[in-house]
């Protein structure tokens, strides 16, 4: 359990680190619109991840599950659609007003996925390293 909690903490921290690193690299090496895409896209998904974490922590408590039963699924899905609608509106504004470069935005939106892949790669490395010893 502690190992799993560590993975989530690692992903949460690495989200911000990758966003910071990507934003800095973007600001130095790419045009302003591209860098802005990375930063704003990363911010949207990092905040989304935090909200999802909060929702699941609240809803997946055994007491809440036994009390509310299956209605939790609907509750979480409604929150997912609300979050998605707000993210969608923000992305719509960013793209339709040409505030950011779409490829930069895609790169920024991949921050959480990159963190999850990084965590997976590190865990796999640990497993292989253990097996080798």
């Amino acid at each position: 359990m502690q190992d799993l909690q560590k993975i989530v903490d690692f992903i949460t921290r690495s989200n911000w680190l990758i966003l910071l690193l990507g934003g800095m690299i973007g600001l130095v090496m790419t045009p302003m619109k591209f860098a802005l895409g990375i930063i704003l896209g990363g911010l949207i998904v990092a905040v989304n991840f935090h909200l999802l974490k909060g929702t699941l922590k609240k809803m997946c408590h055994p007491d809440t599950v036994s009390e509310k039963g299956r209605s939790i699924v609907g509750n979480v899905l409604v929150k997912y659609y609300i979050r998605f609608a707000i993210s969608g509106f923000l992305i719509f504004l960013l793209i339709s007003k040409h505030i950011v470069h779409p490829v930069g935005l895609l790169a920024g939106l991949s921050v959480v996925v990159a963190s999850v892949f990084l965590a997976t790669a590190l865990e796999l490395k640990k497993i292989f390293f253990k097996e080798a010893v």
Binding site: Q5, G69, Y80, I91, P102, L109
Partner: protein, 89 residues
């Protein structure tokens, strides 16, 4: 003109199918997790952590589809000339 219609169709279908699929995926995952927690409340922490990662990845897929739809509608290089040809701005 055909290109514009095709783009609008593709954008609508892209986000529609993605949101539909992601909703089903999240629902199935949550349903399994809830069943697991109610059967074994001590495993709630483990289930929650795994579910968080899974749901985050599913959501990312839907957001990618949304961005692709937006690109098709607003920033595709051929959109501006097509709209201009129709008399828009």
């Amino acid at each position: 003109m055909e290109f514009l219609v095709g783009s609008v169709w593709a954008a609508g279908l892209a986000i529609g199918i993605a949101a539909f699929g992601c909703g089903i995926g999240q629902g199935l995952g949550l349903n399994g997790a809830m069943a697991g927690i109610s059967r074994n409340p001590e495993a709630a922490g483990k289930i929650q952590v795994n579910m968080l990662i899974g749901l985050a990845l599913i959501e990312s897929l839907c957001i990618y589809a949304l961005v692709v739809a937006m690109i098709l509608l607003f920033v595709h290089p051929a959109i501006a000339p097509a709209v201009k040809a129709l008399g828009g701005h």
